[in-house]
């Protein structure tokens, strides 16, 4: 009896010892709502498959809050092993001196890794020169969501959503005239939709090749095209077609509850919208100005950044998790659960072979949009600015003022540009 007890105690001690040999790495992220559940499932599956590693995910608020908390924690020496940062924070992270560029990690662990396996526009966005600095995770782009039932009620063809801004006016007026809705269109992430319009028409946002060839000195707006975008949106608002719905995902509820018929929003909202909407959801490319040049919609969402100054074991644990994320099944699970792009070409092929895109064409829209656009100009790849979070804040305020009629589109943009240029100048002085 005594001996049996001894053995049990010893066994327990060994088990505890083994458990303590686990490498624990902390992961801060900003995935809320339906995305949170999908992410937590992926992490717990990973932990179950790797008894020696424990990835501990911590939800740290919105993207903005997560970045701020990471910065504060880094300065206090309590930062997590890796963190999800939205695309806006990319240049800030690159200049931070606080991270290990991911392309260096396999080499540090004596491994090699094929970076060409990731979907091209994502790699381009997060690369400095030819090297990928952050790990592709949740990439999205913007597209047009529309309510097919509303189109039918207004006597419109539900398979002919507006493709140009002129058509947006026409369709919007039809929907208003038919009394289907009081307002037709709203935006998610309005500041980002402005970026999208510039990129879709191959216009730069800032000098030095959108801040990709070197730190940007100035934003390139207000120029005739950006004023055209703002004027179009202001006119849509004046006619009651466009209803400004606030930042981030605030406008989603208006769309899913049928108060409006169309929404420009990130692809990452796709699954949330399809689950809540009580109508047939259609998706299509972003509306364009047909007489302007063609560019591409840009990548949004987030990527994973690895903190500098961790032990080899920790780094290995983080890297194992990254490799797990790149596995085809995991990437597919992430895509199907959220609407984010699967990051690898292999996952994309598998999804196609499985007939997933035929079964759920809305999941294909953003892919077709971004893969059919050009990828050879800085304007179409995306913007990278140090104080980008701040600049977006100014752009959003400018749009709010223009739509409310407090300032003319041109004056609103000029006001935001002055602040943006001040921010760029200050950033340069500090980082150079």
């Amino acid at each position: 009896m005594k001996r049996a007890l001894m053995i049990a105690v010893l066994a327990a001690l060994v088990a505890v010892g083994l458990a303590e040999a686990k490498t624990t790495v902390e992961f801060w992220h900003a995935m809320s709502g339906s995305r949170l559940k999908v992410l937590e499932k992926i992490v717990s599956d990973f932990n179950a498959a790797h008894p020696d590693i424990e990835v501990r995910p911590v939800f740290t608020g919105t993207y903005e809050e997560t970045l701020t908390k990471f910065i504060a924690a880094y300065r206090a020496g309590t930062a997590p092993n890796f963190v999800q940062v939205y695309e806006v924070g990319t240049q800030t992270m690159i200049d931070s001196g606080a991270i290990i560029p991911v392309y260096q990690i396999p080499g540090m662990l004596g491994e090699t890794w094929d970076w060409a396996q990731y979907v091209r526009p994502i790699v381009l966005y997060y690369s400095v020169g030819d090297n990928l600095w952050s790990f592709p995770f949740n990439s999205s782009t913007s597209m047009l969501y529309y309510n097919k039932d509303h189109f039918r009620q207004a006597g419109l063809d539900p398979n002919k959503p507006p493709t140009t801004w002129d058509e947006m006016f026409r369709v919007g007026r039809e929907l208003l005239r038919a009394g289907v809705v009081a307002n037709v269109l709203s935006f998610g992430w309005p500041d980002w939709q402005f970026e999208q319009q510039l990129a879709v028409h191959n216009y730069l946002y800032a000098d030095n090749g959108n801040g990709r060839a070197g730190l940007a000195n100035e934003v390139t707006w207000p120029d005739p095209f950006s004023i055209r975008v703002f004027t179009t949106w202001t006119e849509l608002a004046r006619e009651g077609i466009f209803l400004y719905g606030g930042p981030e995902y605030n406008a989603n509820s208006a769309f899913t509850s049928g108060q409006i018929s169309m929404l420009l929003q990130s692809t990452s909202s796709l699954d949330g919208i399809m689950r809540t909407a009580q109508f047939e959801v259609g998706t299509t490319f972003l509306p364009r100005f047909p007489d302007e040049p063609r560019g591409n919609s840009v990548v949004g969402g987030g990527s994973l950044w690895v903190r500098k100054g961790q032990s080899v074991e920790e780094l290995r644990a983080v890297w194992e998790f990254f490799k797990y994320l790149s596995q085809t099944e995991v990437a597919i699970y992430w895509h199907k659960g959220t609407g984010y792009f699967p990051a690898t070409n292999a996952a994309l092929k598998q999804l196609m072979d499985d007939g997933w895109f035929a079964q759920s064409p809305n999941h294909l829209t953003a892919f077709l949009q971004i893969l059919s656009g050009r990828q050879d100009t800085a304007a179409s790849i995306g913007v990278r600015l140090g104080p980008f979070v701040e600049i977006r804040d100014y752009v959003r305020a400018a749009l709010e003022k223009a739509v409310a009629g407090t300032l003319s589109p041109e004056a609103a943009l000029a006001e935001a540009a002055a602040k943006a240029n001040r921010a760029l100048r200050e950033y340069q002085e500090l980082v150079k």
């Binding site: 903005e64 910065i71 931070s96």
Partner: protein, 295 residues
């Protein structure tokens, strides 16, 4: 000191040490740091720091935003303090009358204080959601006018101020009830006998009698309107639209934590400190002196 603690010269200092230490660590040190930082500019990750002298302060006073934010704050605080206190006093007078169901009304009016400003903000944000809000709908039914607080600055400011005042109602009413109950009934009766009407009785007798309560509430509401409404603004408008509800304390937060300009925000916090300290001193000097404490 020594007279009260004979033989223990150091004991009194030892006894107040914990309080002084807490104040020093959590108030004085951060304040000194803020003043220090307001003369520098640091990159987001703190890798480079440059001395910029008075530049942060110069930016505060050379950009129209700060003045605008100051005016917004004053307007907001005015609405919350004057509007909120008037309504609270009115309700407090009503619920101290002898009416049926008095206890129910008193509790019903006080409970709003149980909500945190953030929760109150959430309720009002949902009420006035431009697309699905009940408040938006009712106002459109009555007036035919569609409010969109995501776009209309004035509407957003009014709604936020109303929400803030509403959240504070319970607290104010509570104190006013206590104040009103302390006014001896004989005074009012005497005034009545002398032929004063209800209105005159209130202004000549009751209002001066509750002036200590009013002075106290003025101070508390000022601190509330300047600082504590942060959560409410964050939930409801995030300072928007176009900065229309960006009150000083919220602007400071956005500059520091969203726009990552910590030093500029430090300078703002020093300015805000001076402003509020001046206002508080003024209130303590004027309002408190005018209040009638003795009977």
């Amino acid at each position: 000191m020594e007279a009260k603690f004979p033989g223990y010269r150091l004991l009194p200092y030892l006894l107040i040490f914990p309080s002084v230490a807490v104040i020093a660590v959590f108030l004085v040190v951060p304040f000194v740091q803020a003043v220090h930082q307001s003369f520098y500019r640091t990159s987001p990750f703190g890798t480079t720091t440059r001395f910029v002298g008075w530049d942060n302060y110069a930016q505060i006073f050379s950009t129209p935003e700060y003045v605008r934010s100051l005016l917004t704050t004053l307007g907001f605080a005015g609405l919350v303090i004057v509007g909120g206190l008037s309504v609270s006093l009115g309700i407090a007078i009503l619920v101290t009358r002898r009416i049926r169901g008095l206890g129910f009304y008193q509790v019903a009016f006080i409970w709003t204080y149980a909500l945190s400003p953030a929760v109150a903000g959430m309720i009002w944000a949902l009420l006035f959601d431009p697309a699905v809000g009940l408040g938006t709908y009712v106002i459109q039914l009555i007036s035919g006018y569609r409010i969109n607080m995501m776009v209309q600055g004035t509407a957003a400011l009014l709604i936020a101020a109303t929400a803030a005042a509403w959240n504070m109602l319970g607290y104010n009413i509570c104190f006013f009830i206590a104040g009103l109950q302390n006014v001896p009934k004989e005074f009012e009766e005497a005034a009545r006998v002398d032929g004063a009407g209800v209105w005159k009785t209130f202004w000549q007798v009751t209002f001066p009698m509750i002036s200590p309560t009013t002075a106290f509430l003025l101070f508390v509401n000022m601190v509330y309107a300047f600082f504590q409404v942060f959560g409410l603004i964050d939930v409801m408008t995030q300072g928007g639209p176009g900065g229309a509800t960006e009150i000083l304390v919220y602007k400071l937060y956005r500059d520091a934590f969203i726009r990552l300009r910590g030093n500029f925000a430090s300078a703002q916090s020093v300015v805000l400190f001076v402003l509020v300290a001046a206002a508080a001193l003024f209130q303590l000097r004027v309002a408190t002196r005018k209040a009638v404490y003795s009977r």
